[in-house]
Symmetry: C2
Subunit: 255 residues, 2 copies
């Protein structure tokens, strides 16, 4: 996209799309009903702007007038639900690899991809132990924290690192050093970075051009990620990530 082509009307259009999507993002399973006043307050938008965007989203079935002036997730999201699940369904061999990894290491396996300045969990295989690292498919987490972030930022340019740094208490230079270290050793490991007591270990899934397309790794309680275990986990995770790189993450992927 060439910014020079964009007049004020085009910029306003993009801004409206982003605002509409951000309003939709306020709806979660925990906060599933909002009225226009609440949406305006939470988004910082003017009430008339909020109302206009809500009406537009309702028109396409993405929001639903749930009664008493409240809105909830619309039926139009159900179609995308099916689409998203089919697009991000792991191929059966890839699914088997992460199943085996979870079993072998006794920890939950997560697969993350980068989405702007976030990482999104696109697949998961729960570990066998009761004390687990609970992240769900579809969860959006920050890129600056956790092992998966270091792996996913391998090809990041300065502009991206600066945008990420601006949202977090981490300097661009530190982030770059962490990313370089992960690239050098072939995996990243973090302890209590995103959440006290939680550890993660991730390795890159590459496409055929050796670009990082996903981070595949383990998450679990720090007491189970001892130095000795980390050596064992790193070998197993790297092997699994390499296998998934070879066969492709999702069916029909160009990796």
């Amino acid at each position: 996209m060439n910014a020079k082509d964009d007049g004020p009307a085009e910029e306003a259009g993009v801004r409206s799309v982003l605002r509409a999507l951000d309003l939709l993002a306020l709806f979660t399973e925990g906060s599933s009903r909002w009225n226009v006043r609440e949406l305006a307050e939470a988004s910082g938008l003017a009430k008339t702007t909020t109302l206009r965007l809500v009406s537009t989203l309702e028109r396409r079935g993405l929001l639903w007038a749930a009664g008493a002036g409240e809105y909830s997730a619309g039926p139009g999201l159900l179609r995308w639900s099916r689409l998203a699940r089919s697009a991000w369904q792991l191929s059966e061999p890839a699914r088997q690899i992460i199943r085996d990894l979870a079993q072998h290491c006794g920890e939950t396996v997560n697969v993350y991809v980068r989405s702007d300045i976030h990482r999104v969990c696109v697949a998961q295989e729960e570990g066998p132990q009761a004390l687990r690292h609970v992240v769900r498919v579809g969860d959006e987490l920050p890129l600056w924290s956790g092992a998966a972030g270091k792996v996913l930022l391998a090809d990041a340019d300065d502009a991206l690192l600066e945008r990420i740094s601006a949202t977090a208490e981490v300097a661009v230079a530190d982030l770059r050093a962490q990313v370089a270290h992960a690239a050098e050793q072939g995996y990243a490991v973090t302890h209590g970075e995103r959440e006290l007591g939680a550890s993660g270990l991730s390795a890159p899934v590459l496409d055929s051009a050796n670009r990082v397309v996903a981070a595949l790794g383990l998450g679990g309680p720090t007491p189970r990620f001892t130095d000795e275990k980390v050596v064992e986990f790193a070998a197993a995770v790297r092997r699994a990530a390499d296998e998934v790189s070879r066969i492709g993450l999702v069916p029909g992927s160009s990796q």
Copy 2:
């Protein structure tokens, strides 16, 4: 929304949101990968506009650069997937009612809600017979055809009927007569209206203010919808729809 408040910038904003959502709607399980040129052709938008909207959708994780200049459904849709499924999950008593209805009548039960000029299937219980009416949760169908449409349009004003009529080969007066007839007899039945050989029978699910919130009904092959069967089906469907109206369609619904 007061149209008088809307200047050209606001109109452009709404138009951009609608265009972005329409681009996203081009992605289906059958057509899961598109490049910008194809999207521009299918949407009728200029290539620069298409590119700008695609970039915006990609920025929020709703589209995904899948390689070779192609885009697919983004990981951001996975979060909405979970949200939509939780918002439209039938309450267990409602689920039991449609399960019993499918068993009793031997036909597939579908629940539709209105979304603008469409109806969306939000719940389903498959019938026991091999020859089935196949519609899937999330499918968007026209409102002008099928029994569910007549039921869902009970409270429709002229403007809505005219918009629907404009997309179909049905006159507003005919549509209004069909809707009135359904309201009068408490259900609608159609044969081969949307698809040759397929019949449907639907009754309204009402909220506490007696507004139609959903259409609950059966779909199956016309040879199984004889006059005699229709009488039996109508009684069973109306009873089930009344029960669901009383307990509410989804948990926490204001019906």
